[in-house]
Amino acid sequence: MTSSPSDPELAVHPLQEFADAAAEAVGGEAEIQFDTIKLRVPADQWVNALTKARDNLDLVFFSWLSAIDWANDVEVGDTLNEETEERIELLCTVCDLTEGRRITFSTDLPNVKPSVASIVEVYVGANWHEREAAEMFGIEFEGHPDPGPLYLPESFLGNPLKKSYPLLSREVKPWPGTVDVEDMPEKPSTENPEA
Amino acid sequence: MIETITDVFSNFWVSLAGKLLLVATMVPLIGMLLGFAEMKLSAKMQSRVGPYFAGGRWGWAQLIADGVKFFQKEDLVPEDADSPVFKAAPILVLVGTVSLFLVIPFGPGLIFQDLSVGIFYALAISSVGTIGVLMAGWSSANKYSLMGGLRAAGQLIAYERPLVLAVVGSVIMAGTMSMSGIVEAQISVGFPFVVVQFVGFGIFMTAALAELARIPFDMPIAESELVMGYLTEYSGFRFLFFFLAEFANMFTLSAIAATLFLGGYWLPFVPESSLEFTGPLILVGKVFLLTFTMIWFRWTFPRFREDQLQTLAWKVLIPLALMNIAITATLKVVL
């Protein structure tokens, strides 16, 4: 499809053409980063854009759907280098099954109570991916035929993949993996557990 | 001295006690031997070694060790189970197995009891075990067991007809239902019935495999679907009895097939006077040949589906068996 990343001029060219054509057919703005076409569409156009992608662009293969939590205040991991607009970015990649062209659709949702129409009607495979995104990011997918947690137990609280969600084991034992070498049994313990 | 022994054994009760003792040793022994044969043969077929360490050489003591292990296993009955039925199921299975030994002729006169309706009895008794299996499946209060038990019953419906009808050809040729009578008939015509009854023999062996619930007909157990079918809830010695019965049944059904179709204890060109001594060996040799085939099938074939077995039985085996009867009868009358 493309050549190696060392000659970006050549690599970008056919992709750019396809990205422009897609942006025209679907609406929204296309952007190419490292061989990946990202097509930003407004949240209210989400279902519409994907329907057009399937019907007009022949992108019939549903690859995946997930989200990114853009947050400035981060519980775990590194913070972003620069301030960003806090939001949930919903991503969905669809491809065709002939030349391997793929587009990652992207839409921005508000950070609190994100909600978007479900695309299960368009790509039936989105069912599980949307359930996963729902429980991991707290996104509500309107019109989802079978809502409910996919991985997590029913009683689980919180949305684990949000940046504000602490990694509980890390709270107990901070990273980077300070190795706790326990005292050898012969050596008397320095502190009395009873105390 | 010899006369006294004969006298003592001519007493009905003494001879009965002797027979019971003999069978009581034979059943576990055969179970162990065939179990070991299955282990070693399957290992050979799968380029493995099989049991190796127990007993020092070839792992010959493996099954004894397994038996001792089973002696120490806890005997669990599920809480929801129908306890009396659950406990009685292995008994019924083994009753069917032991009773089958009754009519197998090991040599001229070497038969536990030469019933005049021998083959009829054998066919009837051989389905008793299935009732035990159905009881085991139903009483376990387990969904897998229930399905396994029902499959076993469904299987009985499928194979029982072909099994019975396949035998009729031999009965027509022999003109008797006595098992030793059938062997004698083969001696008198000078060839084993399989020469003309090959269709009946094929049907009988297929149906016998289904009766034994061995691959390709092991749907009642079907580990990959029903976990362990009707055996799922069984543990310890009760579990072992089902296996003992399976191996002993392999022996008895092979022996019946050998008797009906392969000439039983008789082999052409072996002098008839020596059959008293060579007969049992000849029969065991034939049985081993047939059980080897069963083991071979088991490690070669995948499993049928229940509805495929029904189709096979009703649309292929039964019409074939009926045709076989009609042709055999016609030939018998015309010739």
Binding site: - | L20, Q72, E79, V98, V168, R238, L322
Partner: protein, 121 residues
Amino acid sequence: MSAYFESYLTVGAFAALGAVLVLGMLGVASILRPNNPTKAKRLTYECGVDAVGSGWSQTYVRYYVFGLLFVIFDVEAVFIFPWAIILEDLGVFGLVEMLVFIGILVLGLVYAIRKGVLQWE
């Protein structure tokens, strides 16, 4: 004691032996084995989760039509065996009679197949 009675006594004794074998071995095992049933051990196995509903569930025996046919064919076997033994004495008459009988059975089987009864629905 007549030979007839003796032979069926043997049948009974063999059947009893089967039961005695099981009970005897279980008796021996009961001396050797531990007995410590707990609630968890006695649970019904359902792939590692608590059983949904009761194990005493109803199920639809899909082969019941086969079962009906089975009974019919079973009765037929009872007729065939005595005939098979004395076929030589009966001669052509017996043969034709039985061929007609088998023919009727085959017709019935064909009818059942055509009707679609012999399909595992």
